[in-house]
């Protein structure tokens, strides 16, 4: 399958297979006025298969959120059909308003103006804690957090 090369834009590579659509939607590419392609189940030597997003435009991305969604992602910046920069994602030390704390007793559940903020406490376990109530979450597949507090 061929997708045209990009003149100026982004290639979001090494997305965990199956998670591309969530990122595609989060970036608002489904309603974008420029060309964007979501390629799913691309063969990958590292992971067997992966998803790729190609965007024919330079857009602003919050890399901390993208890193939380999938820290294995690599974003290639393309200018004049050449990769000018590769940006490898990593788990951000802090994420804000990506998801809501699920603890019903957390102050953020009632005081809606408070930004839902989570701080990285363990990089190897991808473990985050709610800044207010300390509830723990693991950044799960595609950035869907898994509540680990018992």
């Amino acid at each position: 399958m061929n997708v045209d090369t990009i003149k100026n834009g982004l290639v979001i590579d090494h997305i965990r297979a199956g998670c591309g659509w969530r990122i595609f939607k989060w970036l608002g590419l489904d309603g974008a006025p420029f060309t964007a392609a979501l390629i799913m189940n691309v063969p990958s030597r590292k992971t067997g298969k992966k998803d790729i997003i190609k965007v024919d435009n330079i857009i602003d991305i919050d890399f901390s959120v993208l890193g939380f969604i999938d820290p294995n992602i690599c974003v290639n910046i393309i200018k004049d059909e050449t990769i000018v920069r590769k940006i490898n994602m990593e788990l951000p030390t802090r994420v804000q308003n990506v998801f809501q704390c699920k603890n019903p007793r957390c102050i953020t559940a009632t005081e809606k103006y408070v930004p839902a903020t989570f701080l990285l406490v363990d990089k190897t376990k991808a473990l985050y804690r709610c800044e207010y109530c300390d509830a723990l979450y693991t950044a799960g597949e595609g950035g869907v957090p898994v509540e680990t507090r018992t």
Binding site: E131, C133, L136
Partner: protein, 307 residues
């Protein structure tokens, strides 16, 4: 320097600051009259968004014994919160009237949020099942008075370890001293939260045991910290009824304990300590109440900058 600082969780105080507060509390226990005017002209607001007779009265008595004044509320229903006012607005308003706020809410993280909007220091007097640092100071003053120090103890925590904020706070505090060991005694439904095990015990390299029967481990303990199964923390009353009498400390179980063990309890108790234990010299929970007031007196006088 504690002047002007918030106290949201036990870790907000360094080991040196805890020692400083405990030493001052001990001086106040010996000669309370010497401190009766140190906070004259200062006002404490007690903002209690959920009922608590004991902690509120302890804070108020502490401020009054220091010569200061007190205002506040004991029930969220009588405040603008019931009209839909945000916590941040309530705190902005109250903190413009007073020198210090002591605040209790059922919401975890509420005291931290309040501190972000307050013009005066905020003391967390309990936020849901989260932290209760002044109960921890109370427990520490009691342990230092009755067991001579904070190091080398085997401490058993018994009862509701899941929602028991006093337990979480004391564990966090005692992790900072050398040679302490913990035994967590609870039904499977009320075990210590993962975040305490992951965030507090693991980084401190503290080992712990778990048990489901108090009588299996009571002979190992220097300190037994009993807790109440709190009805207000359950969404399902059936679960509460099933678990509320999981542990009852009585004379027969006290016979299995060491002669120098002390029994602490944050109070109020329901059934978890039988009244026949009250006369046992190892029952320290009523002394603990009095030490709590002195701990709060010491804290208030430091945070307001009066001492």
């Amino acid at each position: 320097m504690l002047k002007g600082r918030h106290l949201i969780e036990p870790d907000d105080l360094s080991v040196e600051e805890i020692n400083e507060i405990c030493s001052l509390a001990e001086q106040m226990i010996v000669d309370p009259v010497a401190f009766q005017d140190v906070c004259r002209g200062k006002i404490l607001a007690t903002l209690f968004f959920e009922p608590s007779t004991r902690t509120r009265l302890s804070f108020e008595a502490a401020m009054l014994h220091l010569g200061g004044s007190v205002e506040g509320f004991a029930d969220a229903q009588s405040t603008s919160t019931s009209k839909g006012e945000t916590l941040s607005d309530t705190i902005r308003v109250v903190s413009s009237y007073v020198d210090l706020i002591a605040m209790r809410t059922p919401k975890e993280g509420a005291a931290l949020l309040a501190s972000e909007y307050s013009a005066c220091p905020v003391i967390n007097a309990g936020d849901g099942g989260h932290f209760h640092p002044t109960q921890t100071l109370t427990d520490l003053v009691t342990i230092r008075q009755l067991q001579g120090g904070f190091e080398g103890h085997t401490i058993g925590f018994c009862g509701d370890l899941k929602f028991g904020r006093t337990v979480h706070s004391l564990v966090q505090a005692m992790c900072r001293y050398k040679g302490n060991k913990f035994i967590f005694i609870s039904p499977p439904e009320l075990t210590m939260p993962e975040y305490i095990l992951e965030n507090v015990l693991l980084p401190a390299g503290i080992t712990y045991e778990t048990a489901t029967r108090l009588e299996d481990v009571i002979d190992k303990l220097d300190i037994l910290y009993m807790t109440r199964v709190q009805k207000e923390r359950f969404f399902n009353e059936q679960d509460y009824i099933r678990l509320k009498d999981s542990y009852i400390l009585d004379k027969s179980r006290m016979k299995l304990a060491r002669k120098d063990m002390i029994v602490l309890h944050p109070l109020p108790r329901v059934n978890e300590i039988s009244p026949d234990v009250d006369d046992d010299p190892r029952a320290a929970y009523f002394k603990q109440v009095k030490y709590g007031m002195y701990a709060r007196m010491a804290l208030i006088s430091k945070i307001t900058g009066c001492l």
